[in-house]
Amino acid sequence: MAVLINKNTNVIVQGITGTMGGTHARLMKAYGTNIVAGVTPGKGGQDFEGIPVFDTVYETTKHFRVDCSVIFVPPYYALDAALEAIEAGIPLISVITEGLPPQDAVKLHAAAKANGTLVNGPNCPGIITPGECLIGIHPGSIYKPGKIGLISRSGTLTYEIGLGLKQADIGISTAIGIGGDPIIGIDQIKSLELFQNDPETEMIILVGEIGGSAEEEAAEYIKSHVRKPVIGYVAGVTAPPGKRMGHAGAIIAGNKGTAKSKREAFEAANVKVADTPYEIIDLVKQELAILA
């Protein structure tokens, strides 16, 4: 069953007629995701390569059971699009959009919380349950189905690890790209909770990076709630303080949010910490050997 999405998940794509939305709607559909509809205001009634396009999210929910919406709309329109999906009662929303204004992010997450909606992102690659369902922009072929849960703030670094695992013939249950913004919905702790409760997941990889204190909080959560092995990694050992390293959230403020602090927190929570991405694979192999 994996977590969040599976082969039965009905997905809509908001912004399907845009360049980004169109490209990835095509890729998701090719991967096997049930894309039941697309939404672009003003383009309702059109057809996107066999996917019906509606003007509003509300209309899609009249025609289909919608489990998830993937949002590819430009930054200044993403809040409205997400609120539309929340108001329509869609339980899971993945906001791929990068550059959402922080004040919009605050409103988005407050609305999601009030409505009990799960929000993935923003500024994230989405989620993939290999072989079943892909939402977002993960390159699907890079992952093999299996029993490792993967949580990451980064896109390409997630792919790197997924690829490394596949090359070692190790598969994953679900990969959650939680996103690189300072304020995100489904975070490390929520992801850990999902994987801990998923019977198909045997082990968890938690890929962190500098900035904020989410890894430190995740480590506390692991201590008290997670009984499965967790492999950790933190990117940004070489990052200087005060500089935004690509992601809006990847910044060491003063002496807070360093890779060192996060690694130490992981270690204190009995998380095995890898020094390099490929060392993650080695640690996974070791743990698998212990579990076997």
């Binding site: 407050a110 009030a114 690659p125 990076e209 904020g212 989410a214 070489t238 500089k243």
Partner: protein, 372 residues
């Protein structure tokens, strides 16, 4: 995008926050246009760097002549390398009390917080008495400000007046999509009026696009950036300068950091962070190559692309072009993923070796750099 003090104060006045009635001057001679009777005045250098007071960037002048000499000195005084283009001239005010006040988004609260300290005018990092009131969901109401006022020990009419200032600073913060809106110090003068004596406003760079009044102004509001950082910012390339000699060109922030870390892990020193972004095309990658290699410190270029959205052949084409114009440049290339085969063909034709194993690429780059 951090605004200069005089610009921050313009926004304050626009939303009704009292500030001293000042004027800006562009040259020292301009002080003679300020009425002689209005002296004494405060001259404040307008730079984006902090610590200007300690560095001598704020001076008091008793009369025009005094102001003239002091303005001359200030215009020549760099603050952390930054020379002022403007001096703000303001009347001196009587200060009964100084308060620190700021609004910003706090990651831990997932929303904005109001922050204040009864000790204003100081570096807030060193204050031990900072009070915080979160505003969940950014649903502001005046009572949050009153709570903050009570927490910093204000009473009576001062509590009411302070809360009214917070209302207006909240409007500044929301109306202009600020990362930070700060008044430090917010002073209470001899007549019990609240006045913003200094202001710091940082606009969120992802949000300025929806505020046409700030269009094109970014370039005038950058400080503390290295040469490559400045040029990168201008063309949408996120580069961070480091002190090493291995130039990094990578896609994805996390993978870029991991690659830099790996260089260090293998005994090398990265020269920079550069995330070429998702879906970069040939021209964009060419600009990135030019940018990274424009530092004389860079001895080796390490390119690490994992093609998800990004097409490896687009990157390969840029690399082939670069090889043509800079045949001697040392490059180590790791390309994997989307259109990897097409990329391989282009690379072979251009005579650039490539690998699809990250560790190998990093080891080679470190080794080449050590020899250079």
């Amino acid at each position: 995008m951090r605004l200069f003090e005089f610009e921050a104060k313009e926004l304050f006045r626009e939303l009704g926050i009292p500030t001293p009635v000042g004027q800006t001057i562009k040259c020292a001679e301009e002080v003679f246009s300020i009425p002689a009777k209005s002296f004494p005045k405060t001259l404040k250098t307008q730079v984006l760097s902090g610590g200007r007071g300690k560095a001598g960037g704020i001076k008091f002048a008793d009369n025009q002549e005094d102001a003239y000499h002091k303005a001359q000195a200030i215009f020549k005084l760099p603050i952390k390398g930054e020379l002022p283009k403007t001096i703000l001239v303001e009347p001196k005010v009587t200060i009964k009390k100084e308060i620190y006040l700021a609004i910003l988004i706090d990651r831990a609260y997932r929303g904005p917080i109001l922050m204040a300290s009864a000790e204003g005018g100081i570096e807030i990092e060193t204050s031990e008495n900072i009070q915080i009131v979160p505003v969940p969901g950014a649903n502001y109401s005046n009572f949050y400000a009153r709570e903050l006022a009570a927490k910093v020990g204000l009473h009576g009419i001062q509590l009411i007046k302070f809360a009214a200032i917070v209302d207006k600073l909240w409007q500044v913060w929301t109306k202009f999509d600020c990362d930070l809106a700060e008044i430090n110090p917010l002073i209470i003068d001899g007549d019990d009026n609240f006045i913003a004596l200094d202001g710091k406003v940082t606009l969120n760079e992802d949000s300025t696009g929806r505020h046409p009044r700030f269009a094109g102004q970014l370039v005038n509001h950058l400080s503390d950036l290295g040469d490559r950082e400045f040029r990168g910012k201008m063309c949408g390339l996120n580069i961070v300068e480091l002190e090493g000699n291995i130039g990094i060109l990578c896609n994805g922030a996390g993978l870029t950091m991991a690659t830099m870390d790996l260089v260090l892990h293998k005994g090398g020193k990265p020269s920079n962070f550069l995330d070429v972004g998702g879906g970069a095309n040939k021209d964009h990658v060419k600009r990135a190559l030019d940018l990274v290699s424009s530092s004389d410190d860079v001895k080796v270029l390490l390119v690490n692309i994992l093609g998800g959205i990004t097409a490896c052949d687009e990157v390969a084409a840029a690399l082939a072009y670069y090889k043509e114009i800079r045949p001697d440049a040392k490059m180590v290339v790791r390309l994997v993923g989307n259109n990897e085969d097409k990329a391989k063909a282009i690379m072979d034709k251009a005579g650039i070796p490539m690998t699809n194993i990250l560790e190998k690429a990093v080891e080679e780059a470190v080794s080449l750099a050590a020899k250079a």
